[in-house]
Symmetry: none
Subunit: 195 residues, 4 copies
DNA sequence: TCATAAGCGAGACGGTACGTCGTGTCTTACG
DNA sequence: CGTAAGACACGACGTACCGTCTCGCTTATGA
């Protein structure tokens, strides 16, 4: 019946995860129904559910697969430049995958396993990148000794997320620069007047 | 059949909205089914759907109804105290209604009307409170002339939301105080006294 | 609000019953919903339900009201002519009100009160007419002494009803004449060969 | 979750149709609700609605399924005996399924597809049986040459239906014998032996 | 070379949520 | 008090969604 032989094995896995995003883009947003998905991917329900035991797990897997290709933390030698690069990356991500994140938040809240996977494979990874940037800046002596790095590294991403997810305000490169130049750098840097 | 006469009119509306949260608390989280709800509230589907054309609209209405009772912005005479009060209020709200917000974010993203209602009745109202606090502080001369108030007033709530909704980190009074003392006040305050 | 003063009293009753048939004719068939009815009749639910405790009772009342205007049994002096007149009357009735009868049969079957009302005010009345005709024929000596009048008087109406209600076959004046000339008269009349 | 595997395919179809009558018998009469039915049959709404697009179609299908098992027309060699067997069969059917027929008549009247199915699978099949009986009688020379067979074969069933459905009079074996002996046989038989 | 198993596409299925519609009761305001 | 207007409780009805299961086919691997 099928003229095109269908692949199996791990290659299929990536293909299916990519199909998740394709269907979401196609149909507009996060309205991904199993039937629509398997029809689009020419897959069987069994093939999908064998790998990911629920739709939420599938979507999380597709999401972390999509964002896992982002390169390592930048290292321009400047805290400001590194932060801007990271935040602009986040901007792009949310523009493309924000719908998925939003649709997952409810599910994550009541599924600890899923939340753990999302945290480990996405949140923690990004946090690591930001911390790397800050640690390099500290090594370069760009940071105040008493800077609350844990809080500092969260302020800008939190604000970007807040505006993208909750308050639905505009999020653009102007915002990321304001955050870096008026919030993070002033709080992180050695105060000029103490020199 | 019914021995207890049931209320009608606008009084019923508030009763129904309160019932939404009751059922959600009862059943654990956002699993509010129309049948369970009308059974709990001794209401008819029509009675509900006449007022709110979908479950999402009902839940949003219940949410904004629940948070609309919060009193006006605090005015202790101190920016720091005012901010701490506001953030601790936010803390309480998210502890109680965070599940609802999380479960709504996906829906809000694809329903502009719903997002508008949520923004107008919740986000914008809270923003107004924070802005009031900052404006009073400015009037008292507590703020630097060039402070980016729009950004400043968003940093702390955004971080609280981020940790409560996305990164699922602990959110407590210690956090709100760190945010005020190490982020908002340092960025807002006049650097005059350090000269 | 209403510029036209609305009637009350028994006159309204007949008006409402007539409205039942009007709405049924308007909307095609027996799909009579209480809301549609009261809107059409500019009446209140209470006004209707005070008089007829259920939709079925209302429809039965409207039906018997509609068919109660049929004149008395014919008396042409000829059994054949009388029967044809009666059957053609039945034909007209079913053409106009057959939908109502059909839609009522299920309800009548499980509502003895309704069935009794229908029987008394419609079935029995018609039966009386047919029996009258037969009795006059018997008085004229047109009937065989051993004719099973009870059965005879039912054959033709039963066949008309069967074709109109159950087998949905064509029912016309040709059929009524066949019934009279080939069934009822041969069975009722004195057999020619016995003369 | 389900430990007992459930059948699929065409076997399920007959099972479901049988369940319709079971539930109807259980709940008394035609009060068949989709929810009660699927619960009783351990079926899904989709499973039912995929096959029969409405409750009415389901009930009609269950009815014709139930009556389609009736054996072929009797052939005792005697028109009278054959007719009595057929009418007594009809009697049993109406005693068991009369409620269903009555509750369907309204729906059949406004749904031509349903009426066609009912006619083809029930009415026409029964008519064929009666015609067979008459044709065999004609072949045996039991019928008058000018007998209106089309009408004749309808008289007795019509009367049985009329009394069972419309006039709600008693329908028993005495009636069927009266119909055969005083109506059908006298009208059908050759008058030769009376000469 | 053939058979035995494992993965797959296809899709029916059980279960449940969701929103619409029909029926009869009740309340409110008006005449 | 009876009425018009219409909100309401109750429950039937049909659609959509999620995850499980079965069937037959293809493809690898084993004898």
């Amino acid at each position: 019946m099928s003229v095109i032989p269908l692949k199996g094995g791990p290659a299929r896995e990536a293909e299916l995860l990519a199909a998740v995003l394709d269907v979401m883009r196609e149909t507009g947003d996060d309205r991904l129904t199993p039937d629509a998905f398997v029809a689009w991917a020419r897959a069987s329900k069994q093939t999908v559910y064998r790998r990911w035991p629920s739709k939420a797990e599938l979507v999380v897997a597709a999401f972390v697969n999509a964002v896992s290709e982002v390169p390592a933390a930048p290292d321009t030698g400047s805290l400001r430049e590194d932060l801007i690069i990271l935040l602009d990356d986040l901007l792009r991500e949310l523009a493309e995958l924000g719908d998925i994140v939003a649709s997952l938040l409810g599910e994550l809240r009541r599924n600890p396993d899923l939340a753990a996977a999302m945290d480990e494979r996405y949140i923690a990874a990004r946090r690591r990148s930001v911390l790397d940037v800050f640690e390099r800046a500290a090594a370069r002596g760009e940071l105040a000794a008493d800077a609350d790095i844990e809080l500092l590294c969260q302020l800008a991403p939190a604000t970007v997320f807040f505006r993208a997810m909750i308050s639905r305000e505009r999020v653009d490169r102007d915002l990321t620069r304001r955050l870096v130049d008026r919030v993070v750098i002033p709080l992180a840097g050695k105060p000029a007047n103490t020199v």
